[in-house]
Structures are given as structure tokens and as C-alpha cells.
């Protein structure tokens, strides 16, 4: 057995960071690469009934940890990385009523916030993000421009976008471009 260094490379390690666009509009956008902790794709088995409560149990209890993805499908997200043992423990909790596909490396979360955040995202998505229609905690699968993403409202002026790892950098670049008129602060490292 050779002793190899096992390092984790974050999906947005090469993404551009810093300040872009308009200097002082008073409504600058903050773009943040979020922790690549865990993303669990939960898929309900046939006829397993209402599962939302059960699915919540495998989450870390954080706000908006469980995000609706499709009929009988959820993403459970959190900042902490999970071991194989953690994972099988959570699978056991679901007791064959649902399966878990680990997507902790396959999906990347990007935070975006600021007073103009709805205007920025409207350049990409056809979803009506008005708060009356898209309340805090609400999620929807959508296209941001050409790229598919799960969008979740985490605050009055903040959203999270969850995107396929391979597209993360491209989406990041698009979001910077979309934010230029308001100015944007792009941060990848914690």
C-alpha cells in the first residue's frame, strides 16, 4: 500500500473571483460557492406513500435542507461531508421506502444574493420569482440560460442554485455576466 495524499478539489476551484461590473449601484450581487458538504438525491419507491416527513429525518435539520426536486424526489443538502457509514445509516432510516443516490460530488451549490437578485435571475429563468409566488424555502427545477439548475429561495433577497458539477463554472461565469449592471462580488473560498 502506497501512501497517497488524498485531496479534495472543489468544483469551482478555477472559477473567477473578485469584484466585477458596476462599482456602486447600492444593490450589488454577492455570488458565493457554498460548501461541498452533502447532497443526497432521495427517490421514493413505488407506492411508498407520503414521505416528506421521513425524508426530513435524514437531513441535518438546517433550514431548507430538504428540497423538492420532482414527484417523489428530493435533494437533502447540508454543509457537512458524510462518510460511507453515515450514508448507509441514512439509507437504513428510509427503510426501503426510498433510495438514496449520493450526489455530494455531482451537484454544486452556489449562493446568490442582493437587492437585485430577482432581476439578475430573471435573465436566466422563466420561473416567476416574485415572493408571493416563490416563497422562502420554495424550490423549482429550471434553466438558468442554457444550464439546468435547482433554484431555492433561502431569503427575501437570497437564493441557492444547485447545478451539475460539470456545468458549475459555466453557470458561475454566466451569473457574473448577468450581474454586471448591478456589480458583483464573486467569492469561491470560505
Amino acid at each position: 500500500m502506497v501512501d497517497f495524499a488524498l485531496f479534495h478539489r472543489s468544483a469551482l476551484a478555477g472559477a473567477k473571483t473578485g469584484s466585477f461590473g458596476a462599482a456602486s449601484t447600492g444593490s450589488r450581487i454577492a455570488l458565493t460557492a457554498l460548501s461541498e458538504g452533502h447532497v443526497l438525491h432521495v427517490l421514493a419507491a413505488h407506492g411508498s406513500g407520503a414521505l416528506r416527513g421521513l425524508v426530513a429525518q435524514i437531513g441535518d435539520g438546517g433550514p431548507y435542507a430538504v428540497r423538492a426536486y420532482g414527484p417523489g424526489q428530493w435533494f437533502v443538502v447540508g454543509d457537512a461531508a458524510l462518510s460511507a457509514a453515515d450514508l448507509s445509516g441514512k439509507a437504513a432510516l428510509l427503510a426501503s421506502r426510498a433510495s438514496i443516490a449520493d450526489q455530494s460530488h455531482g451537484r454544486v451549490r452556489i449562493g446568490i444574493g442582493g437587492a437585485s437578485v430577482e432581476a439578475v435571475l430573471a435573465k436566466g429563468t422563466a420561473v416567476d420569482l416574485d415572493q408571493a409566488n416563490f416563497a422562502i424555502g420554495h424550490s423549482a427545477m429550471t434553466l438558468i440560460g442554457h444550464i439546468s439548475a435547482l433554484i431555492t429561495r433561502t431569503g427575501v433577497e437570497s437564493f441557492e442554485l444547485m447545478v451539475l458539477r460539470g456545468f458549475a463554472e459555466s453557470l458561475w461565469d454566466d451569473l457574473v455576466q448577468m450581474s454586471l449592471e448591478f456589480g458583483v462580488e464573486a467569492k469561491t473560498a470560505d
Binding site: 501512501d3 419507491a45 450526489q103 460530488h105 432581476a119 454586471l180
Partner: protein, 985 residues
């Protein structure tokens, strides 16, 4: 005398002068001017030359319908041709140029066409340039295009940015004139989310241009109050400079907003134009009405203008059209213009009213001539007078301006974009659209309402009517009901006996005689007449001309306009820049880049990348001293076969399949058996389409009883995922099966070559010897002494002893580094998709080059894989059709040149050795080819008739495109290690 600016009045800001140039000549206007009004203020009435006859043309309208005043704005990459001067908001530094003239707009040699005009009538080109046929494309058309036309586009790249946006509302109000404002105010007060869009730079529509009072209130005061209240409502948004250009499915409207087209100082952080997709629960179309020109001789001479436009320039921008104006009208609009002109102290020489019973309420100074018409306007580059006919007598009146009004046509384009047809209304003397459609209501003069008060009331009422269906209690309408006092005149389609050309379509130089000729030559149908004469084409799409043309066709055919009908309204309402349609999708934002988790690993190892769909795959890894890609690829291939290589295969599609019925599901999806695949095993699967042709291939492994892991080809990853979902949801909803795409979750690394096992064993905790982990093994493994869990597959595309190791993507680079480190003493090298391709061709393994949508399993030698015992699988029913089992189907063979020094290309055709090169003698074609460093020659795979029976036959490989002929021999598609001895190390 020409047009000029009055010393007072208008809505312009005289404290803000703006400098601009026209054809290089410096001029000055004011904030509040359009380019058109500023040109008029500078006495510039001749602004362009016409399309065909190069006639001098002036400014005819004050809006979107302008057919004449098309100018080129800007310079370099910002050059924008065919811009309507009437819609350009004047800004400081604006550079405008006239078009379709040489050497200048004042002296244009092209005007010689006017002398040739007897020969240039409708259909002239069709009749004249028929022979010889080849001349049309090569000679005639280029010459005609050079002589006729509009402005020229630039070849330089546009330096500015554009973007697209979505927005949503309860009620979209299109047009901020009286009806639109009233509708927006009514809905806004009720609390609805309202968007009020208007193409102008100032909302108000006709309220900006009229001096009329509404009750006791002047139009301008009413406008100011309404806008102030709208601004105070947070639920109302006003989109100025925004043209709604189309109505689409789902009640989505397209609109383009000019964000920075009104400035020379472009802020690079903002787009110059923004294309909106407006999703509206309901819309009110309050787009107003277009005033119709009158068709008389010389009605295009600069100085002739629409009566409403003349009023607009006078009241908005304090422009006097000239010193002495004649009004030619058949409705009230002419009188309103005369009133406003006289109020401004300008002389109106005559009001020529074609109606016999002209209204007697005129109280102005100008003489009225009822029952009279203007037969001809006189002048060249500027109007000098008109010839009036009254009671058969000709009278000449000196004038430098002529206002004309032939009645009003509701602007109904948008209402007809989704299939509704305009209907002729005798009562309104106009084509009208259905007043209500699902999601759209028409209000105001777009609905045929005439008087100002009535438009306000109509907008308010129609908004009030729709609010309850949107969930808002119907608040009091913003304006009280009013009777429409406007009268509708009988249309005057054309004036008879004109000496000069009487234009119907200004932009395309279509005149009265052209339309009559079309009818007499059998092209009287409205769609044929349009093509025969070009009436209604080009940038204005007949906004001014269509209704007159229909009236003239109707008269010539002796039918009602209702029987003639209209051509079809389609988006876009007005021309749209390609920039707006492109949005941000250019340069690096043209399409997303999809990066493998091993992208940066490959880059630091020197990879040359190739675009594969959205992915960037490493294609080879050049080393110092290698001068061509072949040097690198040959080395990589030889090294993998001798030692070992590592290749990124993360881009292959990966799908996790869960459920009690997952095995049964796969058994139906694949043509070969999967029901009894043991846990811990991988199997190569062939997926067919319903028609029996192969759809995709790949390996699927059983990781646990109810958990499978499918790999697809890179290209078909999304397609296969959709296919699986469709089958599960629509074909077999009773099966318990779920799918999760995990392509991005895993960095997948192929390690191939005789030393691959030794190398991987250094990382993998479990024993992976031939006995413990044989060919087609698949299992989760522990790595680095328990630091990481991955998935290991004993599968091979190269034909070597090989593995694929999948690890969570974020660790991909670390694991690839570790493999390189462990493999370094064993001579490992990274290899790319080119070497991968060479090795698979050497082994006769197929890809989508062979699986090209026309092949069955048997065609590729997989006949035995197709289950004969399964009750059903996708493709089974069609697989036994005659054509699918025909003996002479193209089937897979190998092909290699007789002389190893010669070569051939993929796509070349196979001919029997002595056959004449022709498609009749075609035997098949080369699907893949490469240079095999192991065989020392080009090798290829081919689909050939009776292929497997022809091994050893000499053939000719024929490339007609390059005129290449290569003597070759057909052979087994497995060129290398036919006994598969290397697979087991």
C-alpha cells in the same frame, strides 16, 4: 420654404441642446426630439432615396410605420442600417447617414431608374430576367441587389452586449396611449401586477401629440396626473422604449427594450437592448390606430406628410411643416391638424375634403373645398404646390407642405399572431381583429374606437372586465363611460386621373398602376399581389400600404375588401436586431462548457482538448519532441498495449437505477438478458429503438439486488435518461424503478494495459487478482486503506486487461495523481480519446460511428446477443421485419489497404474490385478508420453488403470527393488479439 422649428411650444427641453450629424453635416436638436423631428427642425426634409426608382423621399410619419425615413445610425461595429428616424431618440453625438443613394441623397445617380420606370413595373424582373437560367443567380440578381435596396450591414463585430429577460404580470397593457393608460390605472388601483409597455421614449401615445381637452382638462395635464398616480403604485411597472413584437403560446409576449440606444456613451456593464419574454395572465392590446395615406400623384414628394404626424411634430417638438400647408383629408384628422397649425400662427392654404358633405363645424381661417381631391402634388425634392380637382375643374394651389388623412386602421398585428384573422368591418371602414381572445382583449382605437374620451373609457372598462377573472375585485374604472363621437368616413382608396406616380407602398415603390397590373395579369389574390408587386414587404411590412392596397385590389376586382382579405400577420411587429435575438449567447457564452472532474488533471498533464458536445475531452497528451498528433497517439497506443495507460472516461453517461423491478425493467430495455445478472457483475447491453435499430450501448452493473449502475455513451447520456424515464412513466408505470443521473458524481478513470492490475492493486484495499475479481466484475472497493470508497469495474474497451475506477468527483484528481504515481515505475502514460479510438478499432469494438441509426444487432455481429426467450423487449416486434433480416444488409467488416503505405478515409465507399465507380455499384462505406501502430497501416471498420461472407475479398475504397482510390481487402473487424488473450492479463 422648408420645415423649421417654432420659437416656442412643444415638449422639447430647449435648455438641453443636442449635437448630431446627418451625412456628416453638423446639426442641433433638443432633448425630446426624435431624429426625424430634429431633421425637420433643421429644414432637412429630403432624408432618403426610394428602393427602386431612387425618388427623393421625406419623413412621412411620426412612428413605427415610417416607410421612407430609414437611416443608418452609428459607425464601425455599431452600424445599424434601416433605422426608422421617427423612432430614434435624439442624443448628443448621434451620427446618422442616408441610404440607397450615390453619391449623395441630394444628387443620386440611381434616380435614372425613374426615367426607366415605364419598363420597371410590377413583375418586370420576372418577365425580363428569365433567360438564360443560370444568369439569374450569377448576373441579374447581384446587379439588381446592388442597385435596389436598403442600408448595408457592417462586417465588424458589435462591441455591445444584449440580454434576454423573463418577467411576469397579471395584466400586460400594450401601448401607453389613452386606452392603455386607462387600463393600467384601473388594474393598478385594483392591486394587479401590471406592466405597461410602450415603444416611445415617453409614455402617452396620442395624448402627447394632441391639443384636445378631455372634459375641462388638457390632454397634457391628464397625462401628467395619470403617470404620477401610476408611478405611485408599486404594483405597476412602465416599460418605455419597449416594443412588444409578438404574441406567443402560453400568453407569452416578446418585447424588445432599448436600454442604451439613446446615448453615445455606452456603459459596458449594461446591455444596449434587452429582449423580454413577458408572461402575462392577460393582456390588453391598446396599440392605437394607423392613419392611412391617400393615393394621389406625387404623394411621396418631401413635404407630404400624414396629418396626424404633422400634428405630432407640431405639438411635441414645435415643428412647422412649412409656411403654407394644404390639408387633404376624408375625415376629421385633417381638420384637427389645420386647427393646430393655425393656432401656431401657420397658414393653411386649403382644406381639400373628398367628402361631398364635409362637416360645417370648421371655424378656422382656411378655405374648405368639400367634394374635392388633390390629384397631384408638384415638386421634385420639395413640394411646391398641389393640383386640386373640384367639380371637374383643375386648380393649382401653391404650398410647401401637405397633410393627408385617409382614415384610420386599427393596429391589430399582435392580436393576429396566433391564428386569428382580421375581419373587414364596413361600419368602421377598417379591418378589425376579434375583440376578445383567450388571454387578450383589444381596447381603444386598436378596437376601432375613435374619440379620445371614448378611448379612455374603453381602456378602463376593458381592464375592469378582466380583473375578476384574475382574482381582483373590480375596482371603479379610472374613467367614466363616454360615447364615441368620432365619425367614420367612406374610404377613398385612390384618386383617379393622377399624372404622377401615385404610391401605395412607399418603401417598395409600389404604385397604383402596379396593383392594377397585378389584377389584370391574374395576380389579384392578396397573397399573389403581394409577391407580384412586393407591396407590404420589407421593414415596414405594409403598415401604411396594406389596407389601401386591399381597397385598390377590391375596386379593381369589383368586390368588397372583405372578399380580398389580408395577408398574414406574423411576428415581428417591427424589425428586431439580431443582437437582441442573440442575447448573451455569443462568444464564450454561446454555449456552456461542461468540464470533467479530471479536466484540470488532464490539463496539468499536457492534454490537448477536443469539444465533444458541451464536454471538453482530452484527445492526446503530447510529449516533448512529438511534432504531430499522430506521434503522440501512436506512442500512447503502443504504451498501453505494452505497459499501461490511464484515460478519463468521466464523460460517459452514468445512471443509478433503483427499485424492486429494476432488473425486470432493464430486461425490457435491453435486447439481451439482464434479469439474472448476478450482484457484483457488469454486462454489455444493447438498447434498441422501437424500430429494431440499435439506440445505444454500454455496460450495466448490478451493485446490489435492487441497485444497478448503467453507463451510456457520452453523446446519448441525456437521451438514454429520457428514454428510461419515458419507458418507466408511460410504458410500464406498474414497475417499481427510479433513476438518478450520476454522470457528474463520479470521476471515472480507465486503467488499461498488462500492468494495470499491478498498478491498481497499490490503491485498492481488496484483492483484485484474476480469481478474486475476474473479467466483468463490478463492485464497491475501499481505497488507500479505507480513506475512500470507489467503484471498480473490470471492463475493457481497448482489449487489454483493464479496469474502470469510479471515485467521487472531488477526489478524481487526487486518485488520478495516485494512479500516475503508482504506475510510474511500470511505465504508465495518460492517453486520450484518439488513442482510445485507435485501440477500439483495432479490436473491432463499435461506437456511434457504426451505431448510426441504420444498424440492427445482427449487422454488427451481435445477432446472438438478442434474446429469443424474453417475452418482450423494446425493438423486438420490429426486428423480424423482412428488411431487417435481409441477406444483403450492410454488415460490419474490417478493411485494410493492400499496400500498407496507402491509406483511406472514413466515409469512403467500398466498390467491388473491378466495378466502375458509381453509386449503383456501391457496396457500403467505411465507418471508422485510423492508423494502427500495431499493424503498421491504416485500418478501418466498414458496413458492407454481405460483409461477414466477404472476408479476404479485394475491393476498392473510393472517395469521390477527393478522387481517391485505394486497393484494399475486407477482413475480420478484429484486427488485434483475435483470441482475446490480453483481456485477462
Amino acid at each position: 420654404m422648408s420645415s423649421f422649428r417654432l420659437s416656442k411650444g412643444g415638449r422639447i427641453d430647449r435648455a438641453k441642446p443636442l449635437d448630431f450629424t446627418f451625412d456628416g453635416k453638423p446639426m442641433q436638436g433638443f432633448a425630446g426630439d426624435t431624429l426625424a423631428s430634429a431633421l425637420l427642425a433643421n429644414g432637412r426634409q429630403l432624408v432618403g432615396r426610394s428602393f427602386k426608382y431612387h425618388r427623393p423621399r421625406g419623413i412621412l410619419t411620426a412612428g413605427a410605420a415610417e416607410p421612407n425615413a430609414l437611416v443608418t445610425i452609428g459607425e464601425g461595429g455599431r452600424t445599424e442600417a434601416n433605422t426608422r428616424a421617427t423612432l430614434v431618440e435624439l442624443y448628443s453625438g448621434l451620427k446618422a447617414k442616408s441610404q440607397n443613394r450615390w453619391p449623395s441623397v441630394d444628387f443620386d445617380l440611381g434616380a435614372v431608374n425613374s426615367l426607366l420606370s415605364p419598363f420597371l413595373g410590377a413583375g418586370f424582373y420576372y418577365k425580363t430576367f428569365m433567360w438564360p437560367a443560370a444568369f439569374w443567380e450569377k448576373v441579374y440578381e447581384p446587379i439588381i441587389r446592388k442597385a435596389a435596396g436598403l442600408g448595408r450591414a457592417t462586417y465588424e463585430p458589435d462591441p455591445d452586449t444584449y440580454e434576454k429577460c423573463w418577467t411576469h404580470c397579471d395584466l400586460l397593457v400594450i401601448g401607453a396611449g389613452p386606452a392603455g393608460l386607462a387600463a393600467a390605472l384601473t388594474a393598478g388601483r385594483a392591486g394587479a401586477r401590471v406592466i405597461l409597455a410602450d415603444e416611445g421614449f415617453e409614455p402617452g401615445g396620442s395624448l402627447l401629440a394632441e391639443t384636445a381637452a378631455i372634459g375641462e382638462k388638457a390632454a397634457a395635464v391628464l397625462l401628467e396626473e395619470t403617470l404620477a398616480e401610476l408611478a405611485s403604485l408599486a404594483n405597476v411597472r412602465i416599460f418605455s422604449r419597449t416594443t412588444v413584437f409578438g404574441w406567443y403560446d402560453g400568453n407569452v409576449f416578446g418585447a424588445v427594450e432599448s436600454v442604451q440606444k439613446n446615448t453615445a456613451a455606452i456603459d459596458p456593464n449594461r446591455p444596449v437592448e434587452r429582449l423580454w419574454r413577458l408572461a402575462a395572465r392577460h393582456a390588453i392590446l391598446a396599440s392605437g390606430a394607423e392613419e392611412r395615406p391617400l393615393v394621389f400623384g406625387g404623394n411621396d414628394i418631401p413635404g407630404v406628410m400624414m396629418a396626424g404626424a404633422m400634428r405630432s411634430y407640431l405639438n411635441r417638438q414645435a415643428i412647422a411643416p412649412g409656411k403654407r400647408t394644404v390639408v387633404f383629408t376624408n375625415d376629421e384628422s385633417g381638420y384637427r391638424t389645420a386647427t393646430d397649425l393655425e393656432a401656431a400662427g401657420l397658414e393653411v392654404a386649403a382644406i381639400v375634403d373628398s367628402r361631398v358633405g364635409a362637416p360645417s363645424s370648421w371655424a378656422g381661417r382656411a378655405p374648405v373645398f368639400p367634394g374635392a381631391v388633390v390629384q397631384d402634388a408638384k415638386g421634385g425634392k420639395a413640394l411646391t404646390g398641389v393640383t386640386m380637382i373640384k367639380g371637374g375643374a383643375l386648380e393649382t394651389i401653391k404650398a410647401d407642405a401637405l397633410a393627408m388623412s385617409g382614415g384610420w386602421s386599427p393596429i391589430i398585428h399582435l392580436a393576429c399572431h396566433r391564428g386569428a384573422r382580421p375581419v373587414w368591418s364596413d361600419a368602421k371602414a377598417a379591418f378589425v381583429a376579434p375583440q376578445t381572445q383567450d388571454g387578450l382583449t383589444i381596447a381603444g382605437s386598436a378596437a376601432g374606437v375613435g374619440a379620445l374620451e371614448a378611448c379612455l373609457a374603453d381602456g378602463a372598462e376593458k381592464a375592469g372586465n378582466v380583473l375578476p377573472s384574475l382574482g381582483f375585485s373590480s375596482a371603479a374604472a379610472a374613467f367614466t363611460p363616454a360615447v364615441d363621437t368620432a365619425t367614420v368616413a367612406k374610404p377613398l382608396w385612390c384618386v383617379r386621373g393622377a399624372k404622377g406616380k401615385a404610391f401605395v407602398d412607399y418603401q417598395n415603390d409600389v404604385h397604383l398602376k402596379d396593383l392594377r397590373l397585378a389584377v389584370s395579369e391574374g395576380y389579384g389574390h392578396v397573397e399573389l399581389a403581394k409577391r407580384y408587386t412586393t407591396n407590404g414587404m420589407a421593414t415596414d411590412q405594409g403598415k401604411l400600404s396594406n389596407v389601401n392596397a386591399i381597397g385598390i385590389l377590391a375596386e379593381a376586382r369589383k368586390v368588397s375588401p372583405a372578399d380580398v382579405g389580408t395577408t398574414t400577420f406574423r411576428p415581428f411587429y417591427t424589425p428586431l436586431s439580431f443582437g437582441a435575438l442573440t442575447g448573451a449567447s455569443k462568444g464564450k457564452h454561446f454555449q456552456p462548457v461542461r468540464k470533467s472532474p479530471l479536466h484540470d488533471w488532464a490539463r496539468k498533464n499536457g492534454a490537448v482538448f477536443v469539444e465533444t458536445g458541451l464536454w471538453y475531452r482530452s484527445s492526446w497528451f503530447p510529449k516533448a519532441g512529438e511534432t504531430t498528433w499522430r506521434d503522440s497517439v501512436d506512442r500512447e497506443v503502443l504504451n498501453v498495449r505494452k505497459n499501461a495507460g490511464i484515460c478519463d472516461v468521466s464523460t460517459l453517461g452514468k445512471i443509478e437505477i433503483f427499485g424492486k423491478d429494476a432488473a425486470e425493467f432493464l430486461n425490457r430495455i435491453y435486447c439481451n438478458a439482464f434479469l439474472k445478472l448476478p450482484v457484483g457483475k457488469a454486462r454489455y447491453g444493447l438498447m434498441l429503438r422501437e424500430d429494431g435499430m440499435i439506440y445505444d450501448d454500454g455496460t450495466t452493473s448490478r451493485l446490489s439486488e435492487n441497485h444497478f449502475f448503467m453507463t451510456t455513451t457520452t453523446a446519448y447520456a441525456a437521451g438514454v435518461m429520457n428514454h428510461l424515464e419515458f419507458c418507466a412513466q408511460a410504458l410500464w408505470p406498474d414497475l417499481d424503478v427510479q433513476f438518478a443521473s450520476s454522470t457528474d458524481q463520479w470521476a471515472q478513470i480507465a486503467v488499461a494495459g498488462p500492468k494495470s492490475r499491478t498498478i491498481l492493486q497499490a490503491l485498492v484495499d481488496e484483492d483484485i487478482c484474476e480469481v478474486a475479481f475476474p473479467f466483468l466484475g463490478a463492485k464497491e472497493v475501499s481505497l488507500f486503506g479505507g480513506k475512500l470508497t470507489g467503484r471498480l469495474f473490470r471492463i475493457s474497451f481497448s482489449g487489454e486487461l483493464a479496469y474502470e475506477l469510479a471515485v467521487p468527483a472531488g477526489y478524481g484528481e487526487a486518485v488520478a495523481d495516485a494512479i500516475m504515481q503508482a504506475g510510474s515505475p511500470h511505465g504508465i502514460c495518460p492517453y486520450g480519446v484518439e488513442a482510445l479510438g485507435v485501440m477500439r478499432i483495432e479490436k473491432g469494438h463499435v461506437t456511434h460511428s457504426e451505431i448510426n441509426g441504420t444498424v440492427t444487432p445482427a449487422d454488427l455481429g451481435f445477432a446472438k446477443m438478442v434474446s429469443t426467450t424474453k417475452p418482450d423487449f423494446i425493438g423486438k416486434a420490429m426486428l423480424s421485419r423482412d428488411g431487417m433480416v435481409a441477406q444483403d444488409r450492410l454488415s460490419l467488416v474490417g478493411v485494410k489497404p493492400l499496400d500498407p503505405a496507402t491509406t483511406f478515409r472514413t466515409g469512403s465507399h467500398i466498390l467491388s474490385e473491378a466495378a466502375t465507380p458509381s453509386l449503383e455499384n456501391d457496396q457500403g462505406y467505411v465507418t471508422s478508420s485510423c492508423f494502427s501502430p500495431n499493424l503498421g497501416s491504416t485500418i478501418g471498420l466498414a458496413l458492407v453488403k454481405h460483409g461477414p461472407k466477404r472476408h479476404g475479398e479485394q475491393v476498392t475504397v473510393w472517395n469521390d470527393l477527393k478522387n481517391e482510390y485505394t486497393k484494399a481487402v475486407l477482413c475480420s473487424p478484429v484486427f488485434f488479439d483475435p483470441e482475446n488473450e490480453k483481456l485477462h492479463g
